[in-house]
Every structure is written in structure tokens, then in C-alpha cells.
């Protein structure tokens, strides 16, 4: 269990870290590390691996919106069923159940604001459990998943010091 956690912590920071390197850091056999990672993937503890990209630097202007959604919970299943339905749309990146003044927080990406407006009006609001939506567009990203977007990364230390 401890070992699993240590592997996950390393992969959470750097998904590209090779089993060989993980084995070196944790003083373990590489084969054993591979087996554990495979099992964690099978058990859906590791859901996948993605890359944090600063698209803006490439000149790609995608649009991201965070939508506060109020929904009517259903008998037996509460928010589960509607949340699952919302998750199915490919343009939906994240869905969270929230405490506070609304119920679901839905993160949606599209190429233009129009795409998102269309998604909200045609897909989201039309679900019968959805009572209301408030859409917030992301204007600029400063930090995401531990990465700061504009921070210069150069090493300012003297190259040799005692």
C-alpha cells in the first residue's frame, strides 16, 4: 500500500517518469513497479495520463467556461444520474458536485464562445432536471495542475559555487 502511494505520488508529478526511474528512486525492482502500475491502471486508480499544455503560446485561442448548474435531484439517485448524463458530452471536461448555492460545476471547452453558448442552450439547459445555469468564461489561466503558465524557469544560480 505504501509503495503504491509512493508510485502514484511520483506519477502525479510527472506522468512520463519511467518505471525504471521509479524503481531507482524507490529501491525496487523495475518489473515489480511495472506490475503495480498495470494493476493500478486496471483498477482505474490511474484513470489516464494527460499533458498540461499552454495552447495560447501556440496562438490557439480555445475557450473554456465554468458553468454553475442548479438541478433537481431525483428520487433514489439524487444527483448521480444527471451528473452522469452531463459527463457523457465530449465537450465537458470536468463535472463536480458542489456545496453552496448551486449543485454542479461543469467545465466545458470549445473553439469559440458560440460553441459553448450552443452547448448550454441546446444540450445542458434542455435536460429536464436542470433548473438554471450561470456561465463564466475563463479569461486567462495563471496556474493549472501545479504548473504556473508564465513563470520563467531559468536557473539563476552561479554555475559553480563552493
Amino acid at each position: 500500500m505504501e509503495l503504491e502511494k509512493k508510485i502514484l505520488k511520483l506519477l502525479e508529478k510527472d506522468a512520463k517518469m519511467s518505471p525504471k526511474l521509479i524503481a531507482t528512486i524507490l529501491d525496487e525492482d523495475e518489473g515489480k513497479i511495472r506490475d503495480i502500475i498495470e494493476r493500478l491502471e486496471r483498477e482505474k486508480i490511474i484513470l489516464g495520463y494527460s499533458t498540461v499544455i499552454n495552447w495560447e503560446r501556440l496562438g490557439e485561442d480555445g475557450v473554456t467556461a465554468m458553468i454553475d448548474v442548479k438541478v433537481t435531484p431525483e428520487r433514489e439517485v439524487g444527483f448521480e444520474k444527471v451528473a452522469e448524463r452531463i459527463c457523457r458530452f465530449p465537450e465537458v471536461r470536468c463535472v463536480y458536485l458542489m456545496s453552496g448555492t448551486y449543485d454542479l460545476s461543469v467545465v466545458v471547452t470549445g473553439e469559440t464562445m458560440k460553441d459553448i453558448a450552443w452547448f448550454v442552450s441546446h444540450r445542458l439547459s434542455t435536460l429536464e432536471q436542470v433548473q438554471s445555469t450561470v456561465t463564466h468564461f475563463v479569461l486567462k489561466r495563471y496556474k493549472q495542475d501545479d504548473f504556473i503558465f508564465e513563470e520563467p524557469e531559468e536557473d539563476k544560480r552561479l554555475v559553480v559555487s563552493p
Binding site: T24, I25, V159, V160, S161, P162
Partner: protein, 391 residues
């Protein structure tokens, strides 16, 4: 321009410039170098500590503090020392805040040495103890430590260098440049010899938080050693605060008072904003510090396994963030090795002889570098060794 050499003080002329300096110039002239030659963390000071400094400036803390440093900081240090090494110091009389451990070393030597007194300096060691001794009109006596002993100081070796003029023993563990440590039983073996010969110990414990197989033990915690030990520590390595220049000395009130006297006439006090940042570091810096130490440990393992793969002989360094492999298989001197490695493969490491004559045949590699850079450096060193391996 006329030479002014004749005007310079003899003592200053007698000490050689730092061996690292020449190498530094060489490295800065070369482009695209991956450096394992630095002696400081690759992290920037944790944000909450930097914020404490902004706050201090905003509130107008821009004045002198007492010579000894902010009492609040000395109180935090007293708590820390009690927890860390199990020794109690009075914040009022037994703790002095200095400009990094470097100043504390200088103060301690000047406070204790009469002309001709001898200082035992186990080598390889950090570069300032011997010159500091000479500047205080003492005599530095190198005491070798050996690769085979993982650079622990052995009493049977130390004994050979003790004379009636011996007054101070420098202990700097976890060690720069070797990464060696002294465990409790190693220190216990030294204790009788130190007491028998009435030595004072200057224990530079700046890397105390950077140990990887069990915690750090200070010689001050052994019976009979507290009053004859000056423990030096600071914030540079543990909290990635090298540029803040904050260190401290803990010891017997007579010695601390003597050090404070020199400090008050030469330095006055450490910068107040750095002192306030240091308070924040001790109060809330533990978790970020642990995270950094865990990261060093990961990289320590990577560099060691890399050395093994390319055939460089290295004992397991259990402290600081340096590895000190032998370069015997290259058949080169450490300076030749480092220069060629720099020119041919663009990797900077520091020649072992910069840390004392018996560091010859070794190189210091600092693993406070990104995993990627360590991997590239190892690969390049492997290529280098493939070309230059002797026998």
C-alpha cells in the same frame, strides 16, 4: 597601473584564492553547460517565506536589530535546537544571529584563537575553514578522512595530528563535499579524545536537515560536549535561502558573548527582513522543507544508480546534496578530469582537490539539479569515461 601588492597584508597574501574560482571562470566561458557544480539548492525559497519578507518591508521593518538578532528569532531557534538536536540554549545569552554560517565560522575562530593556536580541519572540507584560521592568526592542520571510511573522522587518525597547540576541531557533517555523515557512535568515539585534549569543537551543521537514512546527531548532545561545542547552523540549505544570508551560532555564553563583540563592531546585525523571513521558515516551513528533502533523496538515488551504470566508484552519501565519486578509472587528476569533461561533454563538476589535498582523485557532483539534467549529465559522463577509461 602600478602594483599595490607591497601594501597588502602578509596574512592575506599568504592564503591562496579559492580553487573553485579558476574553474568557475572556465565554466562561465563555455556555453550550454549542464552544471552539477553548484553548492546550493535548486529550489527557490518557498513562497510563504518570501511573503513574510514582503510583509516585513511593507510594515516598515527596515531598521537595525539588536546585535544578537531579533529575540523572537532566537527563541524560535532555541525551540528548534531542542527539538532537532536535543540541546537547550538560552535565547538571551547563548544564541547569536549571523550573516550565514560563513560569518559564524569567522567569528568563532577569531573569538577563540591566539596567534599560533592550531585548528584541526578534517579534509576534504568546505573551503573556508583553513583560510579563516589563517586570517585569525591560527594554524590550520589538515586531518585526512578517507573514502574507505565514507569520510568519517576517525579518532585514531585525528590523534596523530593533535599537538599541545591544538585548540579547535572543526566538524562539518553532513559534509560538503563528500556527503558523508557522522553517526552517534562515530561521534562517541571522538568524544574522549576531544575532552582529553581539551579541544573546542566548531560544529558546522548547515546540512543537518538533509539526511537520508535516519536523522542528524550533533556532537553537542553528547555528555560533556555541550559547553565545548559551538553549533553553527542556518537557513540556506534546509529552506533554500542561500541569498538571504542568515545563520546562527549556539554555545556557551562566554564564547557567544565574545563572538557577539566582534559581530557588533564588524557587522552590527543581520538584515532585519532576512531575520523576519527566517522566523517564518522556522514556524511554518517544515512541510515544504520535507518536500524538498524528499526530492533531493530521489535525485540522490538517481545519480548513484547512474554512477554505478557508468562504472564510477562512489560510496552512498547519506547527507547534504553531494556525491563524491572516485575518478581513478580515468587515470586523470581531478582538475584534468573536470576540465576535459567540461570541454568535451559540457558537464561541470568540481575537482575534489578544491576541498583539500586528499580530495584529489575525486569529483564533487551536486545533485540539487533537475532529474532531466542529472540524467543527461550521467549519459555524457558515461560517454566521456568510455573514451578515457584506463585499464
Amino acid at each position: 597601473m602600478n602594483s599595490m601588492q607591497n601594501y597588502l597584508a602578509d596574512t592575506v597574501k599568504s592564503i591562496p584564492p579559492s580553487g573553485i574560482r579558476r574553474f568557475f571562470d572556465l565554466v562561465t566561458q563555455t556555453k550550454g553547460v549542464i552544471s552539477l557544480g553548484v553548492g546550493e539548492p535548486d529550489f527557490v525559497t518557498p513562497w510563504h517565506i518570501r511573503e513574510a519578507c514582503f510583509y516585513a518591508l511593507e510594515k516598515g521593518y527596515t531598521m537595525y536589530t539588536s546585535n544578537s538578532g531579533l529575540l523572537e528569532l532566537r527563541e524560535e531557534i532555541a525551540n528548534y535546537m531542542k527539538k532537532k538536536i536535543g540541546v537547550e540554549y538560552s535565547p538571551q545569552r547563548e544564541i547569536l544571529i549571523t550573516i550565514g554560517v560563513s560569518e559564524a565560522v569567522d567569528l568563532a575562530l577569531r573569538a577563540l584563537l591566539n596567534p599560533g593556536d592550531e585548528v584541526l580541519v578534517p579534509e576534504p572540507s568546505f573551503v573556508s575553514y583553513a583560510p579563516g584560521t589563517v586570517l585569525a592568526y591560527g594554524k590550520a592542520v589538515s586531518v585526512p578522512t578517507y573514502f574507505e571510511d565514507e569520510y568519517r573522522l576517525k579518532p585514531e587518525v585525528l590523534e596523530k595530528y593533535i599537538t599541545p597547540r591544538s585548540k579547535i576541531l572543526i566538524l562539518a557533517y553532513p559534509n560538503n563535499p563528500t556527503g558523508g555523515i557522522m553517526e552517534k557512535e562515530d561521534l562517541e568515539k571522538l568524544r574522549d579524545l576531544i575532552i582529553k585534549n581539551d579541544l573546542i569543537v566548531i560544529s558546522d551543521e548547515i546540512y543537518a536537515e538533509l539526511t537520508y537514512n535516519g536523522g542528524h546527531v550533533s556532537i553537542a548532545s553528547l555528555p560533556g560536549m555541550r559547553d565545548r561545542t559551538i553549533v553553527l547552523n542556518g537557513f540556506s540549505k534546509a529552506y533554500a535561502m542561500t541569498g538571504w544570508r542568515i545563520g546562527y551560532a549556539c554555545g556557551h555564553p562566554d564564547i557567544i558573548a565574545a563572538m557577539t563583540k566582534i559581530h557588533q563592531y564588524t557587522i552590527m546585525c543581520a538584515p532585519i527582513m532576512s531575520q523576519m523571513a527566517a522566523i517564518e521558515a522556522l514556524r511554518h516551513g517544515e512541510s515544504e522543507m520535507r518536500r524538498m528533502v524528499d526530492d533531493y533523496n530521489n535525485r540522490r538515488k538517481i545519480i548513484l544508480s547512474g554512477f554505478k551504470e557508468i562504472g564510477l566508484d562512489c560510496f552512498e552519501p547519506k547527507g547534504a546534496f553531494y556525491a563524491f565519486p572516485s575518478i581513478k578509472i580515468s587515470g586523470m587528476s581531478s582538475e584534468e578530469f573536470c576540465e576535459k569533461l567540461l570541454m568535451e561533454e559540457k558537464v561541470a563538476v568540481v575537482p575534489g582537490n578544491a576541498f583539500g589535498a586528499n580530495g584529489e582523485g575525486h569529483i564533487r557532483c551536486c545533485y540539487a539539479a533537475s532529474i532531466k539534467n542529472i540524467e543527461i549529465a550521467i549519459e555524457r559522463m558515461g560517454n566521456f569515461l568510455a573514451r578515457h577509461r584506463k585499464g
